[in-house]
């Protein structure tokens, strides 16, 4: 159990901490649906037209916790059933950051990858991954529609992969010490917050987006359209907000078990968290609740993609089908602590209320989430008259904020 927790923790960290996740605008803003997609034309590649015989091998590049074969926890295994059913011998290589994933994909040694939004677009642009013929993936039909053909898994409505699962960074609080129940991120950003010294915040440059999201609603005059596309002025406002927040913070967390412990002991009483942290802490008896504040939240959404040069394409398609099959998707979602992409997975989770807890299928909830994406100099909200701050600058600012 310890082992699997550690693993999940690493998985979570990887997913969260870094460059991760999806490019992002929500589904509501159709005008900017080309977000992240514009600025490049993907190489002309054809999707597979039909499946052949399984080639007997499959090399998987995945976030830790996304392709488990029982070696970390004998009860956590959705790779072995796949091997038995298809005869494809699986090798799993895990990666720690999207940047690492991109450079590993360039070696051409991997057949499939679980890519987050920023990695996926770079892979598509470089021609490392190819369009996916979703008609060859029977389980794709079951996947929630609001996850399909998004800016981070398709270009010009051509699908480049299969949605895997998603989650949001929620506002969590101790019900015994925080009242009334917070409905806004102002509880963690307002300089006069009554929870001074008891706030916990996420330790990653990407957390600047959380501040930008808050400013997007509270200071409309800044004109922030997407928390991952910030020009000089907007960026400075977000950084200033975080510097102002700094004295409120008891500690920044990048390890979800560490945060769980702080919440349980009351060293922190309010802050941003993953649903998995909230569940874990509640199960240990702490009076904790989580909420999606009125401003919305940041989050992640991942995609399985096929390598262009893969010599094992039939096995690759079989894997894509397997990973969104109700059984496997249920296991991954529960092990990692996120919402599954396949609604049928909801009936198969060990915890019958898993999907309810993680708001799977709740498109309204999902549309309030700004999926993590790596900020680049070219503004991904479609502005061309200004330059945006790239992730390198976000990182430096983060160091400065922490001081």
């Amino acid at each position: 159990m310890r082992n699997s927790r550690t693993l999940r923790l690493i998985a979570g960290l990887m997913c969260a901490g870094t460059a991760v996740a999806a490019c992002g605008t929500s589904s509501t803003s159709s005008s900017s649906s080309s977000a992240g997609g514009q600025g490049f034309t993907p190489p002309k590649l054809e999707a597979l037209s039909q499946l052949g015989q399984p080639e007997g091998a499959l090399n998987i590049l995945a976030w830790p916790g996304y392709a488990e074969n029982g070696s970390n926890d004998p009860n956590v295994d959705w790779v072995t059933p796949f091997e038995q059913a298809t005869g494809c011998k699986v090798n799993v290589k895990t990666f720690g950051t999207s940047d690492e994933a991109v450079s590993l994909m360039k070696t051409g040694q991997y057949d499939v990858i679980s890519a987050s939004g920023d990695a996926s677009l770079r892979l598509i642009a470089a021609g490392d991954t190819e369009p996916v013929n979703t008609s060859l993936i029977p389980n794709y039909a079951d996947v929630f529609d609001f996850l399909k053909n998004k800016p981070w898994n398709s270009v010009n409505n051509v699908s480049y992969g299969v949605p895997h699962g998603w989650g949001a960074n929620v506002l969590t609080y101790r019900t015994d010490q925080v009242s009334p129940a917070p409905t806004s991120w102002s509880a963690v950003f307002d300089a006069n917050s009554p929870y001074k010294g008891k706030v916990t915040a996420y330790d990653s440059p990407i957390y600047i987006a959380d501040a930008a999201l808050y400013l997007m609603k509270t200071k409309p005059e800044l004109g922030i359209k997407n928390p991952y596309a910030l020009d000089d002025k907007q960026f400075q406002a977000a950084v200033d907000l975080l510097k102002q927040q700094r004295p409120l913070v008891s500690e920044y967390w990048s390890d979800y078990l560490k945060e769980s412990q702080a919440l349980k002991n009351g060293d922190a009483v309010i802050g941003t968290a993953w649903q998995v942290t909230v569940n874990l802490t509640k199960s240990e008896g702490a009076p904790l609740e989580s909420t999606l504040p009125v401003e919305g939240a940041t989050g992640w959404s991942d995609t399985w993609m096929v390598a262009t040069k893969s010599p094992h394409k039939t096995c690759a398609y079989k894997w894509l089908d397997h990973i969104v099959s109700p059984q496997a998707n249920a296991k991954v979602a529960e092990y990692f602590g996120e919402a599954p992409a396949n609604p049928k997975a909801c009936a198969l989770t060990a915890d019958a209320k898993h999907c309810e807890t993680y708001h799977a299928g709740d498109a309204a909830y999902a549309s309030q989430i700004w999926y993590w994406t790596t900020p680049i100099a070219q503004c991904i909200d479609g502005r061309t008259d200004v330059k945006c701050k790239d992730y390198g600058e976000w990182t430096r600012a983060w160091t400065e904020i922490k001081g």
């Binding site: 901490g17 870094t18 460059a19 720690g96 950051t97 940047d99 690492e100 991109v102 450079s103 770079r122 330790d203 990653s204 440059p205 700094r246 913070v249 008891s250 500690e251 920044y252 990048s254 390890d255 560490k258 412990q261 702080a262 002991n265 009351g266 060293d267 680049i376 100099a377 790239d390 992730y391 390198g392 976000w394 990182t395 430096r396 983060w398 160091t399 400065e400 922490k402 001081g403």
Partner: protein
């Protein structure tokens, strides 16, 4: 004559070749893997990364160093890290000296062996386990709060406390070795000449064991300068130089800037080593 015998005969007549063959492997290791890696680090510090592809661009510039020197935040972090290193070293020296003194001069040989093992035992436990147990102890309703009625909480104090605990054996052992080498006859001679215990300690023991203390301080100092895990676990919202390096590699994929920051502790240690070389402490390592 067998081949082995002729080879050995040939090598017997060529002592230089023999020596060369013996030393080539360790020299290769030292030269390529060790110094080579350090050299690569310094070279990388002058490059920069392309923001979209994340590739390192091999163009020479001093931009990284300019950022390092002009941004106030890096100065603050450097001085904070230095301060923590000094505090940890002083605390460890103060705790370690009486302990090592008792071990070397008063304990029976049997007790000595047991004490040495006792000092080393914490080294056998995982670093993370020890850091996390301090986290639990320093928590709002942890052991420290329970005993003393208050806890420093997570932050600078907690970081210094935890690091002092972690590196204490590295301070005790060199001082113990230094004191062990100090002949008892010198102490006796001092008292024969009328020196009281304080005078003996100040004029005989301390000057002779000072190099051993410095040797221990090199460990505690350099280990603290490079640490980034403890401060993550008990440091609250604080950060040290190691965290800046880690964040630049792990989060920003900016290897060149990380390399630039990583040169700071190296430079500090070089200055420190140059300063202590005169004390003869390096002979005690």
């Amino acid at each position: 004559m067998s081949i082995a015998a002729s080879v050995s005969g040939f090598l017997y007549r060529k002592p230089r070749l023999r020596l060369g063959m013996l030393l080539s492997a360790p020299l290769l290791w030292l030269g390529l893997a060790y110094l080579g890696a350090l050299a690569a680090l310094f070279v990388t510090a002058f490059w920069h990364t392309d923001t979209f592809t994340g590739q390192v661009v091999t163009e020479w510039s001093l931009d990284n160093f300019a950022t390092l020197f002009t941004d106030e935040v890096y100065r603050t972090i450097t001085f904070r890290t230095l301060g923590i290193a000094v505090a940890v070293t002083v605390i460890d020296a103060v705790i370690a000296f009486p302990m090592a003194f008792y071990m070397a001069k008063f304990a029976s040989p049997r007790a000595q062996r047991i004490l040495v093992i006792a000092v080393m035992t914490p080294l056998w436990a995982s670093y993370l386990v020890k850091a996390y147990s301090w986290r639990v102890m320093l928590s709002g309703n942890g052991l420290v709060g329970w005993i003393f009625g208050a806890t420093p909480g997570y932050g600078l104090t907690a970081t210094i406390l935890t690091l002092s605990y972690l590196w204490l054996p590295y301070m005790i052992l060199p001082i113990y070795a230094g004191l062990d080498r100090l002949p008892n006859s010198l102490v006796e001679a001092s008292s024969d000449l009328g020196g009281r215990s304080w005078r003996t300690f100040r004029s005989v023991v301390l000057p002779l064991t000072f190099p051993a203390i410095v040797a221990g301080s090199i460990f505690t100092f350099s280990l603290t300068l490079g640490d980034y895990i403890t401060v993550k676990i008990v440091g609250g919202a604080g950060q040290m130089l190691g965290n800046v390096v880690y964040d630049n590699i792990g989060a920003a994929n900016n290897l060149p800037f990380a390399a630039t920051v990583a040169t700071v502790p190296v430079v500090i240690m070089l200055v420190y080593l140059a300063a202590v070389r005169r004390t003869g402490a390096l002979d005690n390592l």
